[in-house]
C-alpha cells in the first residue's frame, strides 16, 4: 500500500529525513514511532503529498505521489499533526466542504458525513463553530475528515495528542476497528499506543530508520534477562557463569545469605531463551550452587525503544520520547 524508497528531505540544508525505506502492506496497522524531532511529521507530510522529497520516491497503492498525484491522493485520508481547521465554519459545514473536495457524490454526502461524525464521536458537536471546540474535539473533527469517502489508506499524525485518557482509549479502539477496512499508518511517540493498536511498527530516530517489523520482532531486538536467587559463594557463581555460552554480561550481588545474579542473554527467541536458561541452571546445580528462584524477563517495548533511539542523542529527548 505504501512503498518508500530512499526518501530524504532537507530543510535549507538541514537533513530531517535521510535515506528512509520501508513498506506498508494492505490491511496492516503500522505504528510510526520516533522521539520528538525524529522526522515523523516530515515523512508523513511527504507521504500525504504535502511536501516534496529532496530525493527518493513514494508510491501509494502503486501510484507515484509526484507523477500520479491525484490518483495517489484519492487513496489517502490524511490527518495532519495539529488538525488545522477553519474556525469560522461549523463542524458539519466543514465536513460538507471536505466531502465535496474529496468528490463524495452530492446524494451520498449527508449519510457519509453522519457516518464519519459518528465514528469520530463528534456528532453532538455538528452544529458548533470549530473555533469554539476544545482541542480534543478539533482532533476528532480532523479524524472525521480523514475518514470521509472511506479511503483505503489512513495516515494519521499523532491522532491522540492533546486528548484526555478516556478519549485516547476511544481513539485507540477506533483505530482497531478501522483496521478491518483500512490500512493505517499512525505516528506517535507513546509506546503503549503502538502496543495497543498496531500490529507492526516503523521506528525512526534522527531521520533514520532504526527498526521495522512486527511489535514482537521489535521487542525481540532487546536482550532477555535472567534473574537468579542463589545460595553459594560469590566466587563460585562468577566462575560458573563466566564459563557458559549465551551470556552477554552478568552481575552478582550479595543479599544477606543469598546471592542475586542477573544475566543478560544473547538468545533471540523464546526457544533459545528456554534452552539457555536450562543450561545455566544445570551448570549451577552441578557446581553445587543452590538455585532458589529463576525469573526470565524480556525487554519491554519501551526499553527497546530507548536503546534503539538513544544513540548519540541527549537523554532529555529520549526521556520525553519514552515516558
Amino acid at each position: 500500500m505504501i512503498e518508500v524508497e530512499h526518501l530524504s528531505k532537507s530543510y535549507r540544508g538541514i537533513e530531517a529525513v535521510s535515506n528512509l525505506s520501508f513498506r506498508v502492506e494492505r490491511g496492516q496497522v503500522v505504528g510510526f514511532l520516533g522521539p520528538n524531532g525524529a522526522g515523523k511529521s516530515t515523512t508523513l507530510r511527504i507521504l500525504a503529498g504535502f511536501l516534496g522529497a529532496s530525493s527518493g520516491r513514494v508510491r501509494i497503492a502503486g501510484f507515484d505521489i509526484v507523477d500520479e498525484r491525484l490518483q495517489a491522493l484519492r487513496q489517502i485520508g490524511y490527518m495532519p499533526e495539529t488538525s488545522p481547521l477553519y474556525p469560522e465554519m461549523k463542524v458539519r459545514e466543514y465536513l460538507a466542504f471536505r466531502a465535496e473536495l474529496k468528490g463524495v457524490a452530492r446524494t451520498k454526502r449527508r449519510v457519509e458525513i453522519a457516518r464519519c461524525l459518528e465514528l469520530a464521536r463528534v456528532s453532538e458537536m455538528a452544529g458548533v463553530p470549530i473555533g469554539h471546540l476544545s482541542k480534543g474535539y478539533r482532533q476528532r473533527v480532523g479524524l472525521a475528515d480523514a475518514l470521509l469517502n472511506s479511503p483505503p489508506l489512513l495516515i494519521l499524525d499523532e491522532p491522540t495528542a492533546g486528548l484526555d485518557p478516556n478519549q485516547i482509549r476511544e481513539v485507540r479502539a477506533l483505530i482497531a476497528t478501522l483496521a478491518e477496512e483500512h490500512t493505517v499508518l499512525v505516528s506517535t511517540h507513546i509506546l503503549s499506543e503502538v502496543e495497543a493498536s498496531c500490529s507492526r511498527a516503523v521506528v525512526i530516530a534522527k531521520g533514520r530508520l532504526v527498526a521495522v517489523g512486527s511489535i514482537d520482532e521489535i521487542r525481540g531486538r532487546g536482550r532477555p534477562e535472567l534473574t537468579l536467587v542463589l545460595r553459594g559463594t560469590e566466587a563460585l557463581v562468577r566462575a560458573t557463569l563466566s564459563g557458559l555460552d549465551g551470556i552477554a554480561s552478568a552481575t552478582v550481588e550479595v543479599h544477606g545469605d543469598t546471592l542475586r545474579a542477573k544475566a543478560i542473554l544473547t538468545a533471540e527467541d523464546d526457544a533459545a531463551l528456554g534452552e539457555a536458561t536450562e543450561r545455566i541452571v544445570r551448570a549451577l546445580a552441578q557446581a553445587d550452587v543452590g538455585v532458589r528462584e529463576v525469573r526470565t524477563t524480556t525487554a519491554t517495548l519501551e526499553e527497546v525503544f530507548a536503546t534503539l533511539t538513544r544513540d548519540d542523542m541527549n537523554s532529555a529527548t529520549t526521556d520525553e520520547a519514552a515516558p
Binding site: F50, P84, Y86, K102
Partner: protein, 248 residues
C-alpha cells in the same frame, strides 16, 4: 476543474464573516456615495449637458475618486486568500485533498471577483436615480462597469499572487498595493513622458485613460487584452508558487 466550486463557495462565505472585509466595503460605498453626491451637486447648476460630459461620464471617467478606493479595497479583499491559510496551517488539509492547484487558485480568485462585483452593485442605484431625473445612456453605463470590472479583476489577480508569495497578510496587502500603485503610476507616465514609445506604452496600460475611454462608451479591445494579461499572468504565477511550496 476539481475543487474550484467548493473552494469558491467557502471563500465567499469566509469573506462575509471577516470584519475587515465589511469595513473595507462600507468605506468603499461611503466614498462612492460621496463621490456621486459631489458630481450631482456639480451638475445641478448646469442646464445644458453635452453628451460627452454628463454625470455618468464624469463618475466613471473624469475623477480619481472612482479608482483610488480600488488601491486599498483590492489588497484588503485578497490579502487573506493564501497568507491566512499558511499562517493557520489549513493549507495542509487543503493541498492534500485530491484536487488540482489551479482549482484552488481559481476558486479563491473568482470568489473575490464576485465580492468585488457585489461591492459595486449598490452604485447601480445612482444610475437609476439619475435616470429618473434625466437621460442616462445605458451603453455608457455598461461600458463604464465593464472597465471597472476589467481593471479590478487585474488588481485582484495581483493581490491573489502576493497573498501566495508573502508570508503574512500584512505583507501581502502592502506588496499588492505597491504593485497596483506602480501599475497606476506607469499609466500616469502618459502625461509625463515625452512623445515616443514610452508614452505610447504608458497610455496603453493606463487605467486612467481606459476609464476615460470606456466612460464615453469607447470599448477598445486592446485595452481588454491588456487587462486579461494582468489577470492571467499573476494567476499563473500563483499556481506555480503554490506548487513550489512543496519543494521548500
Amino acid at each position: 476543474m476539481r475543487g474550484l466550486w467548493p473552494i469558491f463557495k467557502r471563500e465567499v462565505f469566509a469573506h462575509f464573516v471577516t470584519p475587515l472585509a465589511w469595513v473595507a466595503m462600507t468605506a468603499f460605498l461611503l466614498i462612492q456615495g460621496l463621490h456621486f453626491f459631489l458630481i450631482v451637486q456639480h451638475f445641478a447648476g448646469q442646464l445644458d449637458l453635452s453628451a460627452d460630459a454628463g454625470p455618468v461620464q464624469t463618475y466613471f471617467g473624469q475623477t480619481m475618486m472612482l479608482y483610488l478606493p480600488l488601491l486599498f479595497v483590492c489588497p484588503v479583499l485578497t490579502m487573506r486568500l493564501f497568507a491566512e491559510e499558511r499562517r493557520s496551517g489549513t493549507i495542509e488539509p487543503l493541498l492534500t485533498a485530491p484536487i488540482e492547484t489551479a482549482g484552488v487558485v481559481l476558486g479563491k480568485y473568482l470568489a473575490v471577483v464576485l465580492i468585488y462585483a457585489a461591492m459595486w452593485l449598490p452604485t447601480l442605484l445612482y444610475m437609476l436615480l439619475l435616470s429618473r431625473y434625466g437621460e442616462v445612456d445605458w451603453h455608457v453605463v455598461a461600458s463604464g462597469y465593464l472597465a471597472v470590472l476589467a481593471i479590478g479583476a487585474g488588481y485582484l489577480a495581483i493581490g491573489t499572487m502576493t497573498s501566495a508569495l508573502a508570508k503574512s497578510q500584512l505583507a501581502a496587502a502592502l506588496t499588492s498595493a505597491m504593485a497596483i500603485i506602480g501599475l497606476f503610476m506607469i499609466g500616469v507616465g502618459e502625461f509625463i513622458f515625452p512623445e515616443g514609445i514610452g508614452r505610447d506604452i504608458a497610455g496603453h496600460v493606463s487605467a486612467w485613460a481606459q476609464m476615460n475611454d470606456f466612460s464615453r462608451g469607447i470599448i477598445d479591445s486592446r485595452r481588454l487584452v491588456f487587462d486579461a494579461t494582468v489577470v492571467v499572468l499573476p494567476l499563473f504565477i500563483t499556481v506555480r508558487a503554490v506548487d513550489a511550496w512543496r519543494l521548500e
